[in-house]
Symmetry: C2
């Protein structure tokens, strides 16, 4: 395994250890709510956000291990948003396992012998409370930066940024995405989708790199070019990541990608890929594409036809082109930042995320 992957693995392990041994959930009642609060954050995963935060800390000359509570905090934060998103999206599976509300629904039937309707209500009610507690847990973890010797005014500043920037931008992004679904994707503009991505996907990545930098610099007053550069890096990375997700959502391999191919089309999501295809298609292709959204099921033939239209219109190429440009921009911005091993790790991470098929 190459250096940077070993480093990534080490961080993922330390973050998992922090979260799994943390005593915040211990006093939560009832027992099944405590288990639900622990479930997503303890489950593992790539731990991409913690890695970004700790490498940004290293990049700016800090000791990454001092940033560990913040790294755990962004991971827990990310997870509470997933718990509430899964309720809103009625998703019963995440990474092949039951989502929080789905597993609480099972528990309601098994332990309390509820019927299906009462069980579904039980599942979503307690999943709301589980996410609420995880939001508190994330902030609590962040405040423990104090125990690593991070100055009080830096901790306070990062707490404030978590509420004012991260919460507002991320939750507004999620809300706008849900609103798109109600409004109908034909009434959504490309600009609105870009703004939504900047909030829903981008806000937490920006928070990660900026928090890492401020912990390294030990002051909330660190501002200027370097902070702008790393913020631009996070923005470019986030957009590339989201576009790649949209691309794999239709051109990917279901076994590797982990969710059903075509689900964006099924939910009639106004992805940038879909909007580009609509704009470029002639009237025949456009009406075929629209006929292929919102179907109850997607046969290999339907998927193939969608792929053909996306390719023939040039929408797929346009998207691939933008992913490459975003990735290039991310790498160029990185190159203006201090040259050290963390910068190389961040370069590797960028290449990995753009070239992933999972």
């Amino acid at each position: 395994m190459s250096d940077w992957k070993t480093e990534w693995r080490l961080i993922a392990d330390r973050v998992s250890h922090f979260i799994r041994t943390d005593n915040f959930p211990d006093r939560i009642r009832p027992d099944f709510l405590r288990d639900a609060v622990r479930a997503y954050p303890c489950a593992g995963g790539k731990r991409l956000r913690p890695v970004l935060l700790m490498w940004s800390c290293g990049l700016f000359g800090g000791e990454p291990h001092k940033a560990l509570p913040a790294a755990a905090a962004v991971e827990i934060y990310h997870n509470w948003t997933l718990v509430h998103d899964d309720i809103i999206d009625c998703d019963d599976l995440r990474r092949g396992k039951p989502t929080t509300h789905a597993s609480l629904r099972e528990l309601a039937g098994a332990r309390y012998k509820t019927g299906p309707e009462a069980g579904a209500k039980f599942g979503s009610d307690f999943a709301i409370l589980a996410g609420d507690l995880q939001q508190a847990w994330a902030m609590d973890a962040l405040l423990r930066l104090k125990s690593k010797g991070v100055p009080d005014n830096v901790v306070l500043y990062l707490a404030e940024r978590m509420q004012r920037d991260l919460a507002r931008e991320l939750i507004s992004g999620e809300a706008v995405d849900v609103e798109f679904g109600t409004r109908g994707s034909l009434n959504v503009s490309e600009e609105e989708v870009r703004e939504m991505i900047a909030g829903k996907t981008g806000a937490i990545l920006r928070y990660c790199v900026r928090a890492g930098a401020l912990i390294a610099k030990e002051t909330p007053y660190f501002k200027g070019t370097e902070l702008d550069l790393i913020t631009g890096f996070a923005d470019a990375l986030g957009l590339a990541f989201q576009l790649q997700d949209d691309f794999l959502g239709i051109f990917g391999d279901e076994k590797k990608f982990g969710k059903p191919i075509g689900s964006d089309f099924q939910e009639a999501k106004p992805t940038l890929l879909f909007l580009a295809a609509l704009q470029k298609a002639d009237s025949v292709k456009k009406s075929r594409l629209l006929a292929l959204t919102g179907l109850p099921e997607y046969s290999p033939e339907s998927i193939a036809e969608i792929r053909d239209i996306l390719t023939a219109t040039g929408a797929a190429d346009q998207l691939r082109g933008e992913i490459v440009r975003c990735s290039d921009r991310a790498e160029r911005l990185l190159d203006k930042l201090p040259d050290n091993p963390y910068r190389s790790y961040l370069h590797e991470l960028t290449a990995e995320l753009i070239n992933r098929d999972v």
Copy 2:
């Protein structure tokens, strides 16, 4: 108006002004989510929790106005829990107005022409996100204690207590209360109900008086007898308040009380009043009482019969007796604290809450 009521009114006005002019919600999108985030906190109400916090600050020799951001924070905090509770309890009205999810459901129909089912989903989805944002707003308001010259270490400590004590105890209390409903009130013990009340109602009152004291003392290390006394005061007040609520829920006047008389019996809630009556009743009265829970509607005759049983068994007297004892305990604890106008205000407030009929 007497002195203490003028003081209360002044605090309520300042807290309302802080909340209504605060710019936290401004950047929330879409517009209707921003409005939903503002709705409950800006609506007014007694502002009991802010008053407790600021008077506790005064009692301990601090300047109450320095505590204003914390007072606004506990009010906003209380409101996010109401928004999520209202979803969970399927309550469409609060203080005679549509709850958050109910008014968002209306908006879905009016603006997006959704059907009833999609409208209900829209209402609850965005109400989840509104509560999430309010949780962030509460913490953000708290952190602005800094701008009042409260030392960084005190602000950090209060933020930590908000997550570790308040969030865990309050949300666990709410969760246990919801679980009672699933389990059935016959399977719930008096001790469990008392623990639930200590969390759901008590945690935020404890937080208020302790936060007020620490802001006054300007140190997170203020501990000992006086802090224990004011905490005991908050606990006694909280229990008396909840018991009075249970009492008014069946013996009150619907017009003054603001919610339907008998709703606890309709929802088969295991209140301490109900559990006491069950324990004291002979088998005939017990089966009548059980027959009178969970009815679709409550006629004046049913209400009268429930009142008769609660009175005849002595459960009503027992409850009134405990309310008086709690109130006496609260007053006795107060008397051991510094003698100043704020102590008198807190005495008056205790008497008011216990003797209220609204």
